[in-house]
């Protein structure tokens, strides 16, 4: 066994011992999920139209209900959701293990993520768009009988939707070994439509609107009519910033003299903007790490209980903090 493999085995054993230790000091097994049974009665007369929904609940509610009535069936332990919590926890650790180095566990988690995402997009796209917005327009009666009983009875056949059907089929032609060029026509249509849409939108929303937003008074007054120093200063900075950044991208003249100095000021403004963007990115990434750790400590290991979901949280139980 080489050094690297030894490190992995040691880390795995330490992790397993810690989780086992946590389970041993727990009053009940950790990482358990509970549900609440909610009966749904869609049609009073038809027994087939009644079913039970299982919504997420908590150990606190389960225990309270059991204390009140040991035979209650409203709050239940959910085996499938418990398995879900454990799989989510292990996959989180697998993905974080990439920080140590690339490894098969990370690859395994990555492959699962890609596979599930692709399948999810395909299924959701089919049922939320293709079925109601294409088949539902071309053959509403068939779709109502087959998949969407809620589809309005006054929906009529709209033959115009044959056009997107044909374009869609042409797009799929790219998968055929012959005649792949046929898919270029709908591709050209998509590119053309989106170029047109985006060009107009950009000119309206960004170019023209931003020019208008940049025309700001340098002398601001507050609601009482007196001079507002900070708002005025803000607008002065806004205008100097916009003009100096524009000068930096003005390449028809050499950046010397007053143009060079203004361009340099523009670089400073851009650097400050990039710094602010970096700061925000750091904040976002830390928030993502925080929720994963919170999930591991709360839902899986039951170390903390910020939302009052259960009776036991080891940190408060041991009176450590």
């Amino acid at each position: 066994m080489n050094k690297s493999n030894r490190l992995w085995v040691i880390l795995f054993i330490i992790g397993a011992v810690l989780v086992a230790g946590r389970m041993l000091i727990s009053q009940s097994l950790i990482g358990k999920a509970y549900v609440q049974a909610v009966p749904v009665n869609a049609d009073e007369e038809n027994e087939d139209h009644k079913w039970t929904l299982y919504e997420q609940s908590s150990q606190t509610k389960f225990n309270e209900a059991v204390l009140e009535d040991p035979n209650q069936t409203k709050y239940l332990f959910s085996f499938s959701r418990t398995i879900g919590v454990w799989i989510a926890a292990l996959l989180t650790i697998f993905v974080l293990s990439f920080l140590i180095r690339d490894n098969p566990l990370y690859k395994f988690a990555e492959s699962i993520f890609i596979g599930i995402s692709a399948a999810y997009w395909m299924v959701v796209g089919f049922w939320s768009t293709v079925v109601p917005n294409l088949f539902g327009k071309l053959s509403p009666d068939m779709v109502r009988d087959w998949a969407m009983p809620g589809l309005g009875i006054d929906e009529r056949v709209e033959l115009m939707y044959i056009v997107p059907l044909v374009l869609g089929l042409m797009l799929l032609w790219i998968l055929s070994p012959k005649g792949g060029w046929i898919s270029r026509w709908p591709t050209a249509f998509i590119i053309g439509v989106f170029c047109g849409l985006r060009l107009i939108t950009f000119i309206h929303a960004d170019f023209l609107s931003q020019i208008r937003n940049g025309i700001a008074p340098l002398w601001m007054v507050d609601s009482s009519g007196s001079f507002d120093f900070w708002e005025s200063l803000r607008n002065v900075f806004l205008i100097i910033g916009v003009l100096s950044c524009l000068v930096y991208f003005f390449f028809s003249f050499e950046h010397k003299g007053i143009i060079g100095k203004t361009a340099k000021l523009g670089i400073w403004f851009m650097m400050i903007t990039f710094g602010a963007a970096f700061g925000y990115t750091v904040m976002g990434r830390i928030a993502l790490l925080a929720i994963r750790l919170e999930f591991l400590f709360d839902d899986w290991l039951w170390l903390i209980d910020p939302t009052g979901k259960r009776l036991e949280a080891v940190i408060s139980m041991l009176g450590l903090f």
Partner: protein
């Protein structure tokens, strides 16, 4: 020392960052928040609405950004419930629909069970098409939404009566994790109908600098990342939070998620600043040594 720091294995930095986030979570560290102008602007836009006004909530995010955007989504829904607004949920992201369902269960069903589906709130679900969907719902929602997310015909839902397009909404909230999101809503909806559509948004930290140019004319309020969520949470809970006999906040932790996550933020940011300072000191020391040689 400089040589040691220069060649320090980056995994020690990762470990430090992990600890700087993990320890405040375990200690459940929280700090007081002071709302910024932008968060107050978002809060005021909702406060201006009257009972029964229509509000569109577009949840354009997924579990990948739930840590950042989930807290503000929960607080937005709570605020709408407290104001007794009619809520129309929709999503341009496939998993956005699950985020909607999750928030309906966490807030509406758990704490406002008196609200009725179809009368007080409804879920239009996800539609593929990105900005194409925005273009369509601006003119005729029924072209795309023949049923709601649960498969009920749109015309059979009481709160859809008289709603032909999103111009009928009194306010729009977008929670955005990227494309399509707030930028597209501003570009395709707000800019086209500035007098009919008012949009406030919550976004990820990565997006925030890209959206600031739209403030305040095209975007009157913005909650930027978890900090914006924490500030907005404070505003909402200070006004609507339930208190016990001693005046302490007596609420479940789900309405304090933003503030809870600001504890790890502070410690991690301090570590980040220290690392940047140390990195720069090493750089300048190294340069000075090279010059001497």
């Amino acid at each position: 020392m400089i040589e040691f720091l220069k060649n320090l294995d980056r995994r020690w930095i990762f470990l430090l960052m992990l600890l700087s986030v993990a320890i405040p979570i375990l200690l459940q560290t929280q700090f007081e928040e002071t709302p910024s102008k932008l968060s107050i602007a978002v809060f005021d836009q909702l406060e201006k609405l009257e009972e029964g006004d229509k509000i569109l909530l577009a949840f354009d995010f997924d579990p990948g950004s739930e840590g950042e955007l989930g807290p503000m989504a929960t607080t937005f829904v709570r605020h709408c419930c407290e104001k007794k607004l009619k809520m129309y949920f929709m999503a341009l992201w496939p998993v956005g629909e699950q985020m909607i369902v999750d928030n309906i269960a966490r807030v509406i069903k758990a704490d406002f069970p008196e609200l009725v589906y179809g009368t007080d709130y409804m879920n239009l679900g996800f539609k593929a098409g990105n900005e194409g969907v925005i273009k369509v719902v601006l003119t005729d929602m029924r072209q795309l939404y023949t049923t709601d997310a649960e498969g009920t015909a749109i015309d059979e839902i009481p709160m859809m009566q008289g709603v032909d397009n999103i111009k009928a909404m009194d306010l729009m909230i977008n929670i955005s994790a990227g494309y399509p999101g707030t930028k597209e809503w501003v570009q395709y909806a707000v800019t086209r109908y500035p007098d009919k559509i008012t949009l406030v948004a919550g976004c990820t930290g990565v997006q925030a600098p890209l959206l600031y140019p739209y403030i305040p004319q095209q975007l009157p309020g913005l909650l930027a990342a978890i900090k914006g969520a924490a500030e907005y949470e404070k505003l909402v809970m200070d006004k609507y939070g339930k208190r016990d006999a001693d005046g302490n906040m007596d609420e479940e932790g789900k309405y304090f998620e933003g503030r809870r996550r600001m504890g790890p933020q502070l410690v991690a940011h301090v570590l980040m600043v220290l690392l940047i300072v140390v990195g720069n000191l090493i750089f300048f020391a190294e340069r000075r040594r090279e010059k001497r040689q």
